[in-house]
Amino acid sequence: MNAIEVRDVTKQLSHFTIQGLNFSIPKGYVTGFIGQNGSGKTTTIQLIMDVLRPNKGEIKLFDAPNRDVETKQRIGFVYDELYMYQHVTINQMRSFIKPLYDTWDDNLFNYYRREFNLPTRQKIKEFSKGMKMKTSLLFALAHDPELLIMDEPTAGLDPVFRRELIDLFHELMEDEKRTIFFSTHITSDLDRLADYIVLIDYGKIQLQQSMTELEENYHLVKGTKEQLSAIDKEAFLGVRVTNQGFSGLYQGDTQSLLLLQTDQPMVIEKPSLEDMMYLMKGKKR
């Protein structure tokens, strides 16, 4: 069963359009959602969370419509900013969020509050950006959600806490019952954590594969301009040409490239996620 299923979703906003969005997030895994700024990551997450409603298409969470209250009980969410009342303390905030969740666990709340070192008497508006993100996480985790949806949870965090957070996500995934779907710009976080990757660009899904598949099937090819002219450019998923030569993202067996009669062999490497984002930018599929 998939944790998230997005089918033919279209959403028209004044400044941006998502058209025919299709993807699914497998249950029990960590899926990273990547794309450059303005590619539609936040809009997609808000559609999944029912903050935005699609003009067309349907979104299901655990096989049920994403509007279902019962379904929302199973989700923990973290946005890129803390969208909560800021003039209250976290304990006051807890008092009115707690009744909405059947599975709310005060012990878990207190455990994470101590782990995150969050004060109970200070108002949220006095918190630093990192503390606000931790607050968001605290409320997302306190009802022991099966699905954690996060929009840039590591943005604005210092490197130490970012690492700790990734470790926490690893811990959360230990029982294999949970699913994590999160967007990020920091692709190194995904290298440490993600099982699957979804790449979005200009409101369209460009790629959805497991990390293993990505490692096996995608190659970063570097060479001279002359070498590029000897290859069909269409063979690449994306190519960038500079004065020094070219680098391209190639999918499939690279034997044919190695057999090309050129002065010097081309360099074939494993691409990083950042390479893939960079090379697939604007690619029409």
Binding site: M49, L52, V69, P99
Partner: protein, 210 residues
């Protein structure tokens, strides 16, 4: 529904307790100093409602609320129920305090038609909310538009409070001086509230919570 009510009371409870306290102080003060307390109460509520709704907009509360396990309709119903409850508290607390103060200090100024006046003011407070709530939900994220509507809204309140007929005084007092007029006012208020609820529900169901 109970969960939704608990949530909305948690969200607004503190602000409205303070609002009720402010109203009480104004009222008690009016028993010593001859002042148009009805007008002060209406203006006080008007600006504090605006402040509460502004806080919701500024903190993107809708994004948060729409992500929680609560349907949008439930959220709107809970808000309206909360305000009806608040109005009831407003009426009973004011009448209670008046009776108490009168019992302790019989020499203070008396308020003519206190029961009817309090009901009319309470319902006027409810109507202010019914006016503001749909507007803020229609124009979230577009502060200027909602503020323009809100600014226009103050005119009827001003007129309602100040430009009464010469015999009865303030407009709101005209509704407190006859049983039929009071009854009509109550009916009209609840119809207004129902229309406002229908509009707000429609807006909230369709809106994007950014």
């Amino acid at each position: 529904m109970i969960k939704a009510m608990q949530f909305v009371i948690g969200m607004h409870g503190k602000s409205f307790s303070l609002l009720l306290m402010g109203t009480l102080l104004t009222f008690v003060l009016s028993l010593y100093v001859d002042m148009s307390w009805g007008f002060v109460v209406l203006i006080l509520h008007y600006f504090l409602f605006m402040d509460i709704l502004d806080k919701q907009n500024n903190n993107n509360i809708q994004t948060f609320v729409f992500s929680l396990p609560i349907t949008r309709t439930m959220y709107v119903v809970a808000n309206y129920l909360f305000f009806v409850l608040y109005t009831a508290c407003f009426v009973f607390v004011l009448l209670g305090v008046y009776a108490l103060v009168k019992a302790i200090i019989p020499s203070i100024n008396s308020v003519a038609n206190m029961g009817a006046t309090t009901i009319v003011l309470g319902l006027s407070v409810l109507l202010i909310f019914c006016f503001l709530f749909p507007i803020y939900h229609l124009y979230t994220g577009s502060g200027k538009k909602s503020r323009a509507f809100v600014a226009i809204g103050i005119i009827p309140i001003y007129m309602f409070s100040f430009y009464g007929d010469p015999v009865a005084g303030y407009v709101y007092q005209t509704f407190t001086t006859g049983q039929i007029r009071l009854f009509v006012f109550i009916i009209v208020s609840f119809i207004g509230c129902a229309i406002s609820f229908g509009i707000a529900r429609e807006f909230v169901e369709k809106k994007n919570g950014v």
